[in-house]
Amino acid sequence: MKLEMRQVAKSFGSRTVLSGFDLDVAAGEVVSFIGASGSGKTTLLRCVNLLEPIDDGAIFLDGDEISRIGRDPNPIRRRIGIVFQSFNLFPHMSVRQNITLALMRVLEKSADEATGTAKNLLARFGLADKLDAYPDQLSGGQQQRVAIVRALAMNPELLLLDEITSALDPELVGEVLDVVRELKGSGITMLIATHEMMFAQEISDRVCFLDAGRIAEQGPPSQVFSQPRDERTKQFLRRVQALGKT
Protein backbone atom coordinates (compact mmCIF):
# COMPACT_ATOMS: atom_id res chain seq x y z
CA MET A 1 0.00 0.00 0.00
CA LYS A 2 1.32 3.40 -0.99
CA LEU A 3 1.14 6.16 1.60
CA GLU A 4 1.47 9.89 1.00
CA MET A 5 1.32 12.66 3.56
CA ARG A 6 1.11 16.24 2.35
CA GLN A 7 1.73 19.28 4.55
CA VAL A 8 0.26 17.52 7.57
CA ALA A 9 -0.02 19.64 10.71
CA LYS A 10 -0.97 18.50 14.18
CA SER A 11 -0.77 20.30 17.48
CA PHE A 12 -2.01 19.63 20.98
CA GLY A 13 -3.13 22.96 22.40
CA SER A 14 -0.20 25.30 21.92
CA ARG A 15 2.31 22.49 21.36
CA THR A 16 2.98 21.86 17.69
CA VAL A 17 3.90 18.23 17.04
CA LEU A 18 3.84 18.01 13.25
CA SER A 19 4.02 20.96 10.89
CA GLY A 20 4.18 20.95 7.12
CA PHE A 21 4.96 17.25 7.27
CA ASP A 22 5.54 15.48 3.93
CA LEU A 23 6.16 11.78 3.47
CA ASP A 24 6.00 9.26 0.64
CA VAL A 25 6.14 5.55 1.34
CA ALA A 26 6.16 3.02 -1.50
CA ALA A 27 4.32 -0.30 -1.30
CA GLY A 28 6.43 -2.88 0.53
CA GLU A 29 8.84 -0.28 1.91
CA VAL A 30 10.02 -0.40 5.52
CA VAL A 31 10.59 3.07 6.94
CA SER A 32 11.93 3.78 10.42
CA PHE A 33 11.48 7.01 12.32
CA ILE A 34 14.06 8.00 14.86
CA GLY A 35 14.38 11.14 16.94
CA ALA A 36 14.22 12.40 20.49
CA SER A 37 11.20 11.80 22.70
CA GLY A 38 8.52 14.28 21.74
CA SER A 39 9.77 14.65 18.18
CA GLY A 40 6.41 13.42 16.86
CA LYS A 41 7.07 9.76 16.01
CA THR A 42 4.09 8.38 17.90
CA THR A 43 1.76 11.18 16.81
CA LEU A 44 2.76 10.58 13.20
CA LEU A 45 1.72 6.92 13.38
CA ARG A 46 -1.51 7.70 15.23
CA CYS A 47 -2.41 10.25 12.57
CA VAL A 48 -1.92 7.68 9.82
CA ASN A 49 -4.58 5.33 11.17
CA LEU A 50 -6.79 8.27 12.14
CA LEU A 51 -6.60 7.81 15.91
CA GLU A 52 -5.56 11.47 15.95
CA PRO A 53 -7.41 13.83 13.62
CA ILE A 54 -4.98 16.06 11.75
CA ASP A 55 -5.34 19.84 11.86
CA ASP A 56 -4.21 20.56 8.33
CA GLY A 57 -2.88 18.85 5.21
CA ALA A 58 -3.93 15.49 3.79
CA ILE A 59 -3.09 11.79 4.00
CA PHE A 60 -3.55 9.48 1.00
CA LEU A 61 -3.61 5.69 0.83
CA ASP A 62 -3.12 4.50 -2.74
CA GLY A 63 -4.17 7.97 -3.87
CA ASP A 64 -7.37 7.95 -1.81
CA GLU A 65 -7.65 10.79 0.68
CA ILE A 66 -8.37 9.14 4.05
CA SER A 67 -8.03 12.25 6.20
CA ARG A 68 -11.09 14.02 4.81
CA ILE A 69 -13.34 15.25 7.61
CA GLY A 70 -16.49 13.20 8.10
CA ARG A 71 -15.09 10.06 6.50
CA ASP A 72 -15.90 6.82 8.29
CA PRO A 73 -12.54 5.73 9.76
CA ASN A 74 -13.48 2.08 10.33
CA PRO A 75 -13.02 0.67 6.79
CA ILE A 76 -9.68 2.51 6.59
CA ARG A 77 -8.45 1.20 9.93
CA ARG A 78 -9.17 -2.35 8.81
CA ARG A 79 -6.42 -1.97 6.23
CA ILE A 80 -3.91 -0.51 8.68
CA GLY A 81 -2.60 -2.42 11.70
CA ILE A 82 -0.96 -0.72 14.65
CA VAL A 83 1.05 -2.19 17.51
CA PHE A 84 1.41 -0.03 20.59
CA GLN A 85 4.26 0.56 23.00
CA SER A 86 2.16 -0.71 25.91
CA PHE A 87 0.68 -3.72 24.02
CA ASN A 88 -2.93 -2.74 24.84
CA LEU A 89 -4.21 -6.30 24.85
CA PHE A 90 -7.74 -6.64 26.22
CA PRO A 91 -7.11 -7.95 29.77
CA HIS A 92 -10.53 -9.57 30.18
CA MET A 93 -10.10 -11.73 27.08
CA SER A 94 -7.95 -14.76 26.37
CA VAL A 95 -5.31 -14.61 23.63
CA ARG A 96 -7.76 -16.37 21.32
CA GLN A 97 -10.52 -13.82 22.01
CA ASN A 98 -8.12 -10.89 21.65
CA ILE A 99 -7.22 -12.10 18.17
CA THR A 100 -10.64 -13.29 16.99
CA LEU A 101 -12.77 -10.36 18.25
CA ALA A 102 -12.18 -8.10 15.26
CA LEU A 103 -12.02 -11.03 12.83
CA MET A 104 -15.54 -12.02 13.83
CA ARG A 105 -17.09 -8.63 14.50
CA VAL A 106 -15.43 -6.54 11.81
CA LEU A 107 -14.55 -9.02 9.05
CA GLU A 108 -17.53 -11.23 9.97
CA LYS A 109 -15.63 -14.50 9.87
CA SER A 110 -17.00 -17.59 11.57
CA ALA A 111 -15.64 -18.56 14.99
CA ASP A 112 -13.91 -21.58 13.49
CA GLU A 113 -12.27 -19.63 10.72
CA ALA A 114 -11.15 -16.88 13.11
CA THR A 115 -9.72 -19.40 15.57
CA GLY A 116 -7.92 -21.11 12.67
CA THR A 117 -6.29 -17.80 11.70
CA ALA A 118 -5.31 -17.19 15.32
CA LYS A 119 -3.80 -20.67 15.68
CA ASN A 120 -1.78 -20.39 12.47
CA LEU A 121 -0.32 -17.01 13.34
CA LEU A 122 0.43 -17.97 16.95
CA ALA A 123 2.22 -21.10 15.75
CA ARG A 124 4.21 -19.04 13.27
CA PHE A 125 5.53 -16.87 16.09
CA GLY A 126 6.13 -19.62 18.66
CA LEU A 127 3.03 -18.96 20.75
CA ALA A 128 0.96 -22.02 19.85
CA ASP A 129 0.56 -23.07 23.51
CA LYS A 130 -0.76 -19.63 24.55
CA LEU A 131 -4.09 -19.77 22.72
CA ASP A 132 -6.18 -19.89 25.89
CA ALA A 133 -3.87 -17.93 28.18
CA TYR A 134 -4.86 -14.51 29.50
CA PRO A 135 -2.60 -11.48 28.97
CA ASP A 136 -1.57 -11.26 32.63
CA GLN A 137 -0.23 -14.83 32.43
CA LEU A 138 2.22 -13.84 29.68
CA SER A 139 5.60 -12.11 29.78
CA GLY A 140 5.92 -8.66 28.25
CA GLY A 141 7.61 -10.09 25.17
CA GLN A 142 4.85 -12.66 24.71
CA GLN A 143 2.16 -10.03 25.18
CA GLN A 144 3.74 -7.84 22.55
CA ARG A 145 4.01 -10.77 20.13
CA VAL A 146 0.32 -11.50 20.70
CA ALA A 147 -0.43 -7.83 20.01
CA ILE A 148 1.46 -8.13 16.72
CA VAL A 149 -0.49 -11.29 15.87
CA ARG A 150 -3.75 -9.49 16.70
CA ALA A 151 -2.87 -6.73 14.23
CA LEU A 152 -1.64 -9.19 11.58
CA ALA A 153 -4.74 -11.35 11.81
CA MET A 154 -6.70 -8.57 10.10
CA ASN A 155 -4.31 -8.99 7.16
CA PRO A 156 -3.42 -5.28 7.01
CA GLU A 157 -1.72 -3.75 4.01
CA LEU A 158 0.19 -1.34 6.21
CA LEU A 159 1.59 -2.04 9.66
CA LEU A 160 2.50 0.70 12.13
CA LEU A 161 4.87 -0.23 14.96
CA ASP A 162 4.95 2.38 17.71
CA GLU A 163 8.07 1.87 19.84
CA ILE A 164 7.06 -1.72 20.34
CA THR A 165 10.11 -2.64 22.42
CA SER A 166 10.27 0.44 24.65
CA ALA A 167 8.21 -1.08 27.46
CA LEU A 168 10.09 -4.38 27.47
CA ASP A 169 12.90 -5.70 29.64
CA PRO A 170 16.13 -5.77 27.59
CA GLU A 171 16.26 -9.57 27.44
CA LEU A 172 12.77 -9.69 25.87
CA VAL A 173 13.49 -7.21 23.09
CA GLY A 174 15.11 -9.82 20.84
CA GLU A 175 12.09 -12.09 20.52
CA VAL A 176 9.87 -9.20 19.45
CA LEU A 177 12.37 -7.89 16.93
CA ASP A 178 12.67 -11.40 15.47
CA VAL A 179 8.97 -11.22 14.66
CA VAL A 180 9.45 -7.94 12.81
CA ARG A 181 12.40 -9.42 10.89
CA GLU A 182 10.19 -12.23 9.72
CA LEU A 183 7.48 -9.77 8.70
CA LYS A 184 9.91 -7.82 6.56
CA GLY A 185 10.37 -10.98 4.51
CA SER A 186 6.63 -11.14 3.86
CA GLY A 187 6.68 -7.84 1.97
CA ILE A 188 4.22 -5.86 4.12
CA THR A 189 4.63 -2.07 4.20
CA MET A 190 5.81 -0.98 7.65
CA LEU A 191 6.32 2.30 9.45
CA ILE A 192 8.41 1.86 12.58
CA ALA A 193 8.93 4.40 15.35
CA THR A 194 11.86 3.18 17.38
CA HIS A 195 14.70 3.92 19.76
CA GLU A 196 16.56 0.76 18.72
CA MET A 197 19.17 2.26 16.38
CA MET A 198 20.87 -1.02 15.51
CA PHE A 199 17.54 -2.52 14.63
CA ALA A 200 16.46 0.48 12.55
CA GLN A 201 19.76 0.26 10.68
CA GLU A 202 19.29 -3.43 10.00
CA ILE A 203 15.64 -3.63 9.02
CA SER A 204 14.84 -0.36 7.26
CA ASP A 205 14.87 0.50 3.62
CA ARG A 206 14.89 4.11 4.73
CA VAL A 207 15.47 5.96 7.99
CA CYS A 208 13.88 9.33 8.79
CA PHE A 209 15.20 11.53 11.54
CA LEU A 210 12.39 13.63 13.02
CA ASP A 211 12.98 16.96 14.64
CA ALA A 212 10.54 19.75 15.51
CA GLY A 213 7.65 18.12 13.63
CA ARG A 214 9.44 17.57 10.34
CA ILE A 215 11.81 15.11 8.72
CA ALA A 216 15.19 16.74 9.27
CA GLU A 217 17.06 14.07 7.36
CA GLN A 218 16.22 10.87 5.54
CA GLY A 219 17.92 8.27 3.43
CA PRO A 220 19.16 4.68 3.40
CA PRO A 221 20.26 3.62 6.90
CA SER A 222 23.89 3.35 5.89
CA GLN A 223 23.90 6.99 4.89
CA VAL A 224 21.88 8.44 7.81
CA PHE A 225 23.84 6.54 10.44
CA SER A 226 27.35 6.78 8.95
CA GLN A 227 27.34 10.13 7.16
CA PRO A 228 24.56 12.27 8.61
CA ARG A 229 24.47 15.68 6.95
CA ASP A 230 22.04 17.48 9.20
CA GLU A 231 23.59 19.02 12.31
CA ARG A 232 20.67 17.94 14.54
CA THR A 233 20.93 14.37 13.30
CA LYS A 234 24.63 14.34 14.12
CA GLN A 235 23.96 15.66 17.61
CA PHE A 236 21.19 13.13 18.22
CA LEU A 237 23.30 10.18 17.04
CA ARG A 238 26.24 11.36 19.16
CA ARG A 239 24.00 11.48 22.24
CA VAL A 240 22.60 8.03 21.53
CA GLN A 241 26.08 6.66 20.92
CA ALA A 242 27.24 8.11 24.23
CA LEU A 243 24.55 5.99 25.87
CA GLY A 244 25.98 2.93 24.17
CA LYS A 245 22.82 2.08 22.29
CA THR A 246 24.16 2.19 18.75
Binding site: L51, R77, S86, N88, H92, L101, A102, R105, A151, M154
Partner: protein, 210 residues
Protein backbone atom coordinates in the same frame (compact mmCIF):
# COMPACT_ATOMS: atom_id res chain seq x y z
CA UNK B 1 -43.12 -9.45 51.59
CA UNK B 2 -44.17 -6.31 49.80
CA UNK B 3 -40.66 -4.89 50.34
CA UNK B 4 -39.08 -7.92 48.71
CA UNK B 5 -41.43 -7.71 45.75
CA UNK B 6 -40.64 -4.03 45.17
CA UNK B 7 -36.92 -4.75 45.56
CA UNK B 8 -37.07 -7.68 43.14
CA UNK B 9 -38.61 -5.77 40.29
CA UNK B 10 -36.86 -2.46 40.94
CA UNK B 11 -33.32 -3.84 40.90
CA UNK B 12 -33.21 -5.08 37.29
CA UNK B 13 -35.06 -1.96 36.15
CA UNK B 14 -32.54 0.26 37.94
CA UNK B 15 -29.52 -1.59 36.54
CA UNK B 16 -30.87 -1.51 33.00
CA UNK B 17 -31.90 2.15 33.06
CA UNK B 18 -28.64 3.17 34.77
CA UNK B 19 -26.58 1.40 32.10
CA UNK B 20 -28.47 3.16 29.34
CA UNK B 21 -27.98 6.52 31.07
CA UNK B 22 -24.26 5.89 31.65
CA UNK B 23 -23.66 4.86 28.03
CA UNK B 24 -25.58 7.88 26.76
CA UNK B 25 -23.59 10.17 29.02
CA UNK B 26 -20.25 8.64 28.00
CA UNK B 27 -21.02 8.78 24.30
CA UNK B 28 -18.60 10.81 22.18
CA UNK B 29 -20.75 11.25 19.14
CA UNK B 30 -21.20 15.02 18.66
CA UNK B 31 -24.69 14.36 17.24
CA UNK B 32 -25.78 12.97 20.62
CA UNK B 33 -24.88 16.18 22.45
CA UNK B 34 -28.54 17.06 23.26
CA UNK B 35 -29.11 13.59 24.70
CA UNK B 36 -25.98 13.96 26.80
CA UNK B 37 -27.20 17.28 28.18
CA UNK B 38 -30.59 15.76 28.94
CA UNK B 39 -29.02 12.83 30.79
CA UNK B 40 -26.77 15.14 32.81
CA UNK B 41 -29.81 17.22 33.76
CA UNK B 42 -31.81 14.13 34.66
CA UNK B 43 -29.04 12.76 36.87
CA UNK B 44 -28.55 16.14 38.58
CA UNK B 45 -32.21 16.53 39.40
CA UNK B 46 -32.76 12.93 40.49
CA UNK B 47 -29.64 12.77 42.63
CA UNK B 48 -30.03 16.27 44.01
CA UNK B 49 -33.30 15.62 45.84
CA UNK B 50 -33.77 13.11 48.69
CA UNK B 51 -35.35 9.83 47.67
CA UNK B 52 -38.22 10.24 50.11
CA UNK B 53 -39.21 13.49 48.46
CA UNK B 54 -39.36 11.89 45.03
CA UNK B 55 -41.43 9.04 46.44
CA UNK B 56 -43.90 11.56 47.84
CA UNK B 57 -43.95 13.70 44.70
CA UNK B 58 -44.32 10.87 42.22
CA UNK B 59 -46.00 8.32 44.47
CA UNK B 60 -48.82 10.71 45.35
CA UNK B 61 -48.50 13.25 42.57
CA UNK B 62 -49.00 10.98 39.57
CA UNK B 63 -52.00 9.03 40.93
CA UNK B 64 -53.32 12.45 41.99
CA UNK B 65 -53.97 13.47 38.38
CA UNK B 66 -56.84 10.99 38.31
CA UNK B 67 -55.66 7.77 36.65
CA UNK B 68 -57.80 4.64 36.57
CA UNK B 69 -56.99 1.53 38.59
CA UNK B 70 -54.49 -0.11 38.66
CA UNK B 71 -52.47 2.89 37.49
CA UNK B 72 -53.48 5.05 40.42
CA UNK B 73 -51.57 2.99 42.97
CA UNK B 74 -49.13 5.08 45.03
CA UNK B 75 -47.15 1.86 45.54
CA UNK B 76 -46.60 1.50 41.81
CA UNK B 77 -45.59 5.13 41.36
CA UNK B 78 -43.52 5.03 44.53
CA UNK B 79 -41.50 2.20 43.02
CA UNK B 80 -41.20 4.15 39.79
CA UNK B 81 -39.77 7.03 41.83
CA UNK B 82 -37.31 4.61 43.41
CA UNK B 83 -36.21 3.32 40.02
CA UNK B 84 -35.83 6.85 38.67
CA UNK B 85 -33.71 8.11 41.56
CA UNK B 86 -31.58 5.01 42.01
CA UNK B 87 -30.85 4.71 38.31
CA UNK B 88 -29.32 8.19 38.51
CA UNK B 89 -27.00 7.14 41.34
CA UNK B 90 -26.12 3.83 39.71
CA UNK B 91 -25.57 5.51 36.32
CA UNK B 92 -22.82 7.58 37.91
CA UNK B 93 -21.24 4.40 39.27
CA UNK B 94 -21.29 2.85 35.78
CA UNK B 95 -19.91 6.04 34.29
CA UNK B 96 -17.02 6.03 36.77
CA UNK B 97 -16.31 2.47 35.66
CA UNK B 98 -16.42 3.40 31.98
CA UNK B 99 -14.09 6.36 32.59
CA UNK B 100 -11.68 4.13 34.54
CA UNK B 101 -10.91 1.99 31.48
CA UNK B 102 -7.74 3.43 30.01
CA UNK B 103 -7.95 5.33 26.76
CA UNK B 104 -5.40 2.96 25.20
CA UNK B 105 -7.99 0.15 25.30
CA UNK B 106 -10.30 2.23 23.15
CA UNK B 107 -7.41 3.09 20.83
CA UNK B 108 -6.58 -0.61 20.44
CA UNK B 109 -10.18 -1.55 19.72
CA UNK B 110 -10.80 1.28 17.25
CA UNK B 111 -7.49 0.59 15.49
CA UNK B 112 -8.79 -2.92 14.71
CA UNK B 113 -11.75 -1.38 12.93
CA UNK B 114 -14.34 -1.97 15.66
CA UNK B 115 -17.04 0.70 15.71
CA UNK B 116 -17.73 2.93 18.69
CA UNK B 117 -20.61 0.78 19.91
CA UNK B 118 -18.73 -2.49 19.38
CA UNK B 119 -15.82 -1.03 21.35
CA UNK B 120 -18.20 -0.13 24.17
CA UNK B 121 -19.91 -3.51 24.16
CA UNK B 122 -16.96 -5.88 23.84
CA UNK B 123 -14.03 -3.95 25.29
CA UNK B 124 -15.06 -1.10 27.60
CA UNK B 125 -18.20 -2.33 29.37
CA UNK B 126 -16.93 -5.81 30.35
CA UNK B 127 -13.96 -4.20 32.06
CA UNK B 128 -15.97 -1.32 33.52
CA UNK B 129 -18.68 -3.50 35.06
CA UNK B 130 -16.15 -5.79 36.73
CA UNK B 131 -14.58 -2.78 38.39
CA UNK B 132 -17.80 -1.30 39.72
CA UNK B 133 -19.30 -4.40 41.33
CA UNK B 134 -18.27 -3.34 44.88
CA UNK B 135 -19.77 0.19 44.74
CA UNK B 136 -22.81 -1.31 42.96
CA UNK B 137 -23.38 -3.64 45.90
CA UNK B 138 -23.20 -0.59 48.12
CA UNK B 139 -26.08 1.03 46.26
CA UNK B 140 -28.15 -2.16 46.25
CA UNK B 141 -27.81 -2.42 50.01
CA UNK B 142 -29.11 1.09 50.50
CA UNK B 143 -31.85 0.41 47.94
CA UNK B 144 -33.01 -2.46 50.06
CA UNK B 145 -33.47 -0.05 52.95
CA UNK B 146 -35.13 2.65 50.91
CA UNK B 147 -37.70 0.19 49.61
CA UNK B 148 -39.25 0.56 53.04
CA UNK B 149 -39.99 4.19 52.19
CA UNK B 150 -42.29 3.08 49.39
CA UNK B 151 -44.19 0.72 51.61
CA UNK B 152 -44.80 3.66 53.95
CA UNK B 153 -46.99 5.14 51.24
CA UNK B 154 -49.55 2.36 51.74
CA UNK B 155 -50.91 3.47 55.13
CA UNK B 156 -50.72 7.13 54.12
CA UNK B 157 -52.85 6.31 51.11
CA UNK B 158 -55.55 5.08 53.44
CA UNK B 159 -55.41 8.34 55.35
CA UNK B 160 -55.71 10.22 52.11
CA UNK B 161 -58.77 8.28 51.09
CA UNK B 162 -60.14 8.88 54.56
CA UNK B 163 -60.53 12.48 53.69
CA UNK B 164 -57.40 14.60 53.39
CA UNK B 165 -57.81 14.91 49.64
CA UNK B 166 -58.69 18.56 49.94
CA UNK B 167 -55.42 19.55 51.56
CA UNK B 168 -53.41 17.38 49.22
CA UNK B 169 -52.61 19.91 46.53
CA UNK B 170 -51.79 22.67 48.95
CA UNK B 171 -49.33 20.34 50.60
CA UNK B 172 -47.30 19.93 47.46
CA UNK B 173 -45.89 23.44 47.51
CA UNK B 174 -43.53 22.82 50.42
CA UNK B 175 -42.32 19.59 48.81
CA UNK B 176 -41.49 21.37 45.58
CA UNK B 177 -39.86 24.24 47.46
CA UNK B 178 -37.76 21.79 49.45
CA UNK B 179 -36.74 20.04 46.22
CA UNK B 180 -35.65 23.32 44.68
CA UNK B 181 -33.57 24.23 47.72
CA UNK B 182 -31.83 20.85 47.62
CA UNK B 183 -31.13 21.24 43.91
CA UNK B 184 -29.70 24.72 44.29
CA UNK B 185 -27.02 23.21 46.51
CA UNK B 186 -26.35 19.87 44.86
CA UNK B 187 -26.23 20.93 41.22
CA UNK B 188 -23.46 23.54 41.63
CA UNK B 189 -21.61 21.00 43.76
CA UNK B 190 -21.72 18.28 41.09
CA UNK B 191 -20.85 20.71 38.30
CA UNK B 192 -17.75 21.85 40.23
CA UNK B 193 -16.70 18.25 40.83
CA UNK B 194 -17.17 17.37 37.16
CA UNK B 195 -15.16 20.41 36.13
CA UNK B 196 -12.29 19.54 38.47
CA UNK B 197 -12.26 15.92 37.34
CA UNK B 198 -12.28 16.89 33.67
CA UNK B 199 -9.37 19.27 34.23
CA UNK B 200 -7.46 16.55 36.06
CA UNK B 201 -8.13 14.10 33.23
CA UNK B 202 -6.96 16.53 30.57
CA UNK B 203 -3.75 17.06 32.50
CA UNK B 204 -2.92 13.43 33.18
CA UNK B 205 -4.31 11.13 30.53
CA UNK B 206 -3.73 10.47 26.87
CA UNK B 207 -5.76 12.31 24.29
CA UNK B 208 -9.24 11.02 23.68
CA UNK B 209 -9.80 8.74 20.76
CA UNK B 210 -12.44 9.68 18.23
Amino acid sequence: MLDIKIFAWSTPAILALALVLAIARSSRNPALFPIRIFVIGYIDVMRGVPVILWIYLIGFGVPGVGLERPFNSPLLWGSVALVMTYSAYVAEVFRAGIDSVHESQRAAARSLGLSNSQTMRFVILPQAIRRVVPPLMNDLVSLQKDVALVSLIGPIEILRQAGIDKSKFANFTPYVAAAIIFLSITIPLTRTTDHLLARERRRTSATRVR
